[in-house]
């Protein structure tokens, strides 16, 4: 079975989009290919005519500060995300998440854009980006626009991006001020598929011992990667204390919906672990926000 015919290495966003639009048959974007190629090889994705590789598009492979924001190109390989001093400075949760995805070889090709576009409810990069308040920059027929990350998802494996029409250019993250910090943690199982049983990221802005603002993201706790608005609400404006943390755990559990996935985890274990992870990431993010 021929999985693709044309492999096009795009040199610009326009080139990528035009190739996508004008391909004589089905065309797909590919970055690292660590999701897509396996889907093609194992028959979960039908063969395509054209693969449009965006991994060498300059606009999509930079990491830089742009007007009070940190820009991370969608096609930057994860190992560069992990090693980038800018990301280390402004997005600790993302460094932690990206450093856990796959192994070193996978991280040398896999990208954040691919992780987000693949739209798994527990994509590690995605969950970190959500808590960091990332906006996605999208290029398509109607030009370039930005969208909050949480608005991007429709269902498991499905994003709002129009297939064969749009692409993710990159992500804009708020730059970190002194009193802010973030953290990511996940729980795995040593047997079976290497997808997190549960992952959780937190971002905190504090003043003294008060939580001024907070963002929490958790997966898989529903069909799409999601923020935990109720738990955030419980924490926002409160003094950090074991009690308030416990309350936050309570509301996180109330609003998230955990499923039992055979051979991975029961809903009950996920629920219990959600509490443990939330305690841990809150603690770490809190400490980081003190520096």
């Amino acid at each position: 079975m021929i999985l693709w015919k044309d492999y096009h290495l795009a040199h610009s966003i326009e080139d990528a989009l035009e190739t996508l639009w004008n391909a004589p048959g089905p065309a797909r974007l590919i970055a690292g290919g660590t999701d897509l190629l396996l889907d093609l090889q194992q028959g979960r994705h039908p063969p395509v005519h054209t693969l449009v590789d965006v991994s060498a598009v300059p606009e999509m492979t930079s990491i830089e500060l742009r007007r009070e924001k940190l820009f991370i190109g969608a096609a930057v390989p994860l190992n560069r995300v992990v090693l980038s001093p800018l990301v280390q400075e402004h997005a600790e949760a993302l460094v932690e998440a990206a450093g856990l995805i796959g192994g070193p070889q996978v991280r040398n090709t896999a990208t954040l854009g691919g992780n987000v576009a693949h739209a798994l409810p527990a994509g590690d990069g995605t969950i970190a980006l959500l808590a960091l308040g990332a906006q996605a920059e999208i290029a398509g027929g109607s030009g370039i626009y930005r969208s909050p990350l949480e608005d991007l998802y429709l269902g498991p494996g499905r994003s709002r991006l129009a297939t064969q029409e749009e692409l993710l250019v990159g992500f804009y993250l708020p730059i970190r001020s002194k009193n802010e910090g973030s953290a990511f943690q996940r729980i795995m199982r040593p047997q079976g598929v290497a997808i997190a049983i549960l992952n959780l990221a937190a971002w905190i802005r504090r003043r003294g011992d008060v939580i001024l603002d907070v963002r929490l993201a958790i997966g898989p706790a529903g069909p799409i990667p999601r923020r935990s608005n109720e738990a955030e609400h419980v924490l926002r404006g409160k003094k950090m204390s074991p009690e308030v943390r416990e309350k936050a755990v309570g509301s996180l559990l109330a609003e998230a919906s955990f499923r039992t996935s055979p051979h991975r985890a029961t809903a009950e274990y996920r629920k219990y672990m959600a509490g443990v992870l939330l305690e841990n990431v809150l603690e770490t993010a809190w400490q980081r926000s003190a520096s």
């Binding site: 090889q41 590789d53 190992n79 192994g103 070193p104 090709t109």
Partner: protein, 936 residues
């Protein structure tokens, strides 16, 4: 497209859908880049693109355009190698390649190109990595031989050499090995190591022949059904398809098998499918892609049958019978003393049931067979197989040919562990080669490998144990159910071993064991390192700890009290007369454990600064027979020949799967002739060139084949001595072999000239020796069921996270009595690999089958331990040589992996009080217990 490979710029035509690995392997002939999984899981296909390691199996060739690609072949400048003349050091090798060789990190070698390329990239960016940094970089580059500690040492010593520009790689220290011999017991690098580190080593899939066809097999995909119809028309008419075969096309016997011929080579119309991997039809086509497409065009109608998914269910009275003989493969019985008396004498009786999972060998090299018809009417089969003569026999049966018409040409094997004993593709490739007259390659992809080959038996083991208050065992009763799956394979033998070892390495006055080896609709189960003893050791060693707790005794003390020793009688009625190092193993492990833990190893300790993490040690013992035993004739033949150029050659069909047999044979012959080992060539696994060494199984090679080689060499030497004694008219004791020469009372004769002298006398300069191991008795007859046992004790230190239930193993102390160690580097590899495999058996490995359907059908769904999970391994020797082993050697391969699992689960109990009675350890279960949801 333009692409630079190993410094050479190439302009290559673009092909649709091509991965970099295909480009490298198929079009550029760079077969050092290996394919272990083709799904981005194993790392054996790692190459550098623009200096960074990536997985070539999932890297489109088109993406490498304009980039610089480096493969294993690009790291050193090596052409051909004549092992007799050059050693690794004289060749231009990268320091990493030299270090991997010197440190014994090369075993089967299949993963090694990936390891070295990944390590190379690491050293480029980090010239002096710490152990943790190495582990991080090699996290997903899997080695199933699992010499991870050696890999770490190799990388560190290469780093050191590179920094100091030193030529020399420091030799590893392997403590405790004594040798009173010139060669035996010294550190010797493998004869095939240089090829393996340079990517020159050819495995079966690396071979190409002109006009070779590619085969695929139509698998049933249903666990239990009757085949109603098979329509191959669509496949036959697909352009590029050369042959499509079904059961009707088999000219010889339809069934194959290692002991019982119960496994159909192809399932025909009206016949029974017994598991998802059963073969229905075969296709040979011009390309693998066409063959794959053809397979999908074959239509099969089935009449579904009720699925038997568990051995206990299989023994119920009203279930369908899978074989004409029924569902019971064998009821295995062990009887000693009088159980009733034993339990009456007991002050305390304990009872518990344990479950072990199906596990998978996951050798990194998937199965591959190439059948090649010869002009003279014979056929050659190229295959990495543990039992070449059995392959020959079974292929001959299938073709209805005399065995001599078939030649098995054994290839390097990328790991076996018991999983390459059965027929995989040999008969299928042969049938297609016969039908087409062309060479046919049948390569399993990882998916097919997982579905088809026999696994480790899942078991249910119920143990009832009686003891006096002072700890002396009075009775042990065990009942085992073993799931042998759809076909017998070696099921009866494996489960016999599980049964005979089910009361542990202890002297028990009254013992009774019953094992039901049952057929089910799961994939077949057969040999797997440990051969059944892994399972029963988990049960009995858990019970010993449970008993110790009930008695308020120290677990080591309890074991010591009951341990087998010289003079003990086993539960099969064998009195041990020599070579029982169990007590010494226990003592040495206990001492080291006390030393490392500062006393009180079994008391839980919280990690400072992280009180939710708790550590403790656990202890277990084990033993394993060497050789087939049970009355089976256990023999091996080896031939040793002296050549006019002074080289010696030893030939036997025994298999080299990575374990190091070739080194052992080389050393033994060198020892007998008092030569350096490089003067000895080793030829194995070829049914035309090498005499039958018997199956490579049951940790028997060093002992049985080793003895054959030793005696062949010895006989040849004596013949040479006789010749020279007559020729020079000197007494034989004045004739001595020294390096490359024979000294005859002051005169010297070059070794090679002895050949002429012998021939002049009408003597052949070669000796074929068929060695018969000491006779053994069948189970049930008492007496010596085995001619030797190896013994082990181990302790594992674990850390349990009481908030998540996660378990990690920090350190393992492993003491082994395998008699005299012949090949220290090979021994080290076996110890490290065995412990890591035992760890996998405890914590990560689970081959999941639901209602006969295989869930674990990708490597991504089967976790084997990686370098990250590898604990510190402290290996201790407690050698008690056995009188008939070569230089006193016994088996080691299986022994080491037996006590690891229970040592870990016992440690978990000591850490957090959760008794694991079902493998693998489930972190959820630990949490449930800790939260009080489950009563102990």
């Amino acid at each position: 497209m333009r692409i630079t490979v190993n410094g050479v710029q190439r302009s290559i035509e673009v092909r649709f859908g091509e991965m970099l690995s295909d480009l490298l392997r198929e079009r550029l002939g760079l077969t050092g880049t290996k394919i272990g999984c083709n799904e981005a899981e194993c790392g054996s296909c790692t190459v550098l693109v623009s200096g960074e390691p990536v997985l070539a199996c999932t890297y489109p060739a088109g993406k490498a355009v304009g980039k610089e690609v480096i493969t294993i072949e690009g790291l050193a400048n090596v052409e051909s190698l004549d092992q007799s003349r050059k050693t690794a050091r004289q060749v231009e090798l990268h320091p990493l390649q030299r270090a991997f060789i010197t440190h014994g990190a090369v075993q089967c070698g299949f993963c090694i190109p990936g390891q070295i390329v990944t390590a190379f990239a690491l050293l480029q960016s980090n010239p002096d990595p710490t152990e943790d940094e190495i582990k991080y970089a090699l996290k997903d580059t899997l080695c199933r031989c699992a010499g991870y500690p050696s890999i770490i040492r190799a990388i560190q010593s290469a780093a050191k050499a590179m920094q100091s520009d030193a030529e020399e790689i420091s030799e590893p220290e392997i403590p405790g090995i004594t040798h009173d011999f010139r060669v035996v017991g010294t550190q010797l690098i493998r004869p095939d190591a240089v090829e393996k580190v340079t990517g020159k080593a050819l495995f079966t899939d690396d071979l190409k022949f002109p006009e070779m066809l590619h085969a695929r097999v139509k698998r049933a995909g249903v666990p239990h059904a009757i085949v109603k119809s098979v329509n191959v028309e669509g496949a036959r008419s697909l352009p590029g398809v050369v042959a499509v075969l079904t059961a009707e096309d088999i000219l010889g016997e339809v069934n194959h098998g290692l002991v019982v011929y119960d496994w159909p080579t192809l399932v025909g119309i009206g016949e029974r499918v017994r598991y998802v991997g059963d073969a229905i039809a075969l296709v040979a086509a011009e390309t693998r892609e066409i063959a794959t497409q053809a397979i999908e065009l074959i239509e099969v109608d089935y009449e579904a049958q009720p699925v038997i998914s568990h051995p206990v269910q299989s023994r119920q009275p009203d279930v369908p019978q899978l074989h004409p003989s029924g569902n019971l493969l064998k009821h295995i019985k062990v009887r000693k003393g009088d159980l009733e008396i034993g339990f009456q004498e007991a002050d305390l009786i304990l009872e518990h049931t344990f479950h072990t999972a199906i596990t998978e060998h996951a050798f990194i090299e998937p199965e591959c067979s190439i059948a090649r018809p010869l002009p003279d009417g014979r056929m050659e089969i190229y295959v990495g197989s543990q039992i070449p003569y059995s392959d020959r026999h079974q292929v001959a049966r299938t073709l209805n040919w005399p065995e001599e018409r078939i030649r098995i040409v054994g290839q390097l094997m990328g790991g076996g562990f018991g999983g390459k004993e059965d027929i995989a593709g040999q008969t299928h490739a042969a049938l297609l080669a016969l039908a087409t007259g062309k060479t046919v390659k049948l390569l399993f992809d990882r998916h097919e490998s997982l579905l088809v080959h026999p696994k480790r038996h899942a078991t249910q083991i119920q143990v009832k144990m009686g003891a006096k208050l002072d700890g002396r065992l009075t009775a042990v009763e065990t009942e085992l159910y073993g799931d042998t799956g759809a076909y017998a394979s070696l099921g009866e033998k494996v489960l016999t071993r599980a049964t005979t070892h089910s009361s542990g390495p202890y002297e028990v006055p009254h013992a009774r064991a019953d094992c039901y080896a049952m057929y089910t609709n799961n994939p077949p189960a057969g040999a797997f390192r440990g051969f059944g003893v892994t399972q029963s050791a988990f049960a009995i060693e858990s019970m010993m700890d449970m008993l110790a707790e009930k008695l308020g005794m120290d677990p080591v003390e309890l074991r010591r009290l009951n341990a087998l020793r010289v003079g003990s009688e086993t539960n099969t009625g064998q009195v041990l007369t020599e070579s029982v190092g169990l007590l010494e193993c226990m003592q040495k492990v206990e001492d080291e454990m006390n030393h490392l833990s500062g006393g009180q190893p079994f008391t839980p300790k919280r990690v400072e600064g992280a009180p939710h993490r708790v550590r403790a040690w656990g202890f277990a013992a084990g033993y394993k027979n060497t050789g087939l035993g049970g009355g089976a004739p256990d023999k091996a033949a080896a031939e040793v020949e002296l050549f006019a150029d002074g080289m010696l050659e030893v030939r036997t069909s025994s298999a080299e799967l990575g374990q190091g047999l070739v080194t052992v044979l080389q050393m033994i012959v060198a020892e007998e002739f008092n030569q350096t080992p490089t003067k000895v060539r080793v030829v194995v696994m070829d049914t035309d060139l090498t005499p039958d060494g018997g199956p490579t199984t049951a940790s028997r090679q060093t002992y049985v084949t080793g003895n054959a080689a030793r005696l062949a060499a010895n006989t040849l030497r004596q013949a040479a001595v006789t010749t020279l004694a007559e020729k020079f008219d000197q007494p034989p004791d004045k004739i001595r072999f020294v390096e490359g020469l024979v000294q005859v009372n002051g005169q010297v004769v070059p070794l090679g000239e002895v050949v002429g002298a012998m021939q002049a006398e009408g003597r052949e300069p070669r000796v074929l020796y068929e060695y018969w191991a000491p006779e053994t008795k069948p189970l049930g007859q008492g007496g010596d069921m085995h001619f030797a046992f190896s013994f082990a004790a181990q302790a594992a230190e674990v850390e349990v996270d009481t908030r998540t239930g996660e378990v990690s193993v920090l350190r393992v102390i492993a003491a082994s009595d395998a008699g005299q160690v012949i090949n220290p580097l090979g021994f080290q590899g076996q110890v490290e690999g065995g412990v890591v495999m035992g760890l996998g058996n405890a914590l990560t490995e689970n081959f999941i089958v639901e209602q006969g359907q295989v869930f674990t059908d990708r490597l991504a769904r089967y976790r084997m331990p990686s370098i990250v999970q590898t604990p510190e391994i402290i290996s201790i020797l407690a050698s008690h040589p056995t009188k008939d082993g070569p230089y006193g050697a016994k088996g080691i391969g299986e022994l080491v992996s037996i006590p690891t699992t229970p040592a870990i689960t016992n440690a978990i109990y000591h850490a957090v009080g959760v008794r694991i009675d079902r493998l693998p350890v489930d972190q959820e279960v630990i949490i449930q217990h800790l939260k009080g949801k489950v009563k102990q």
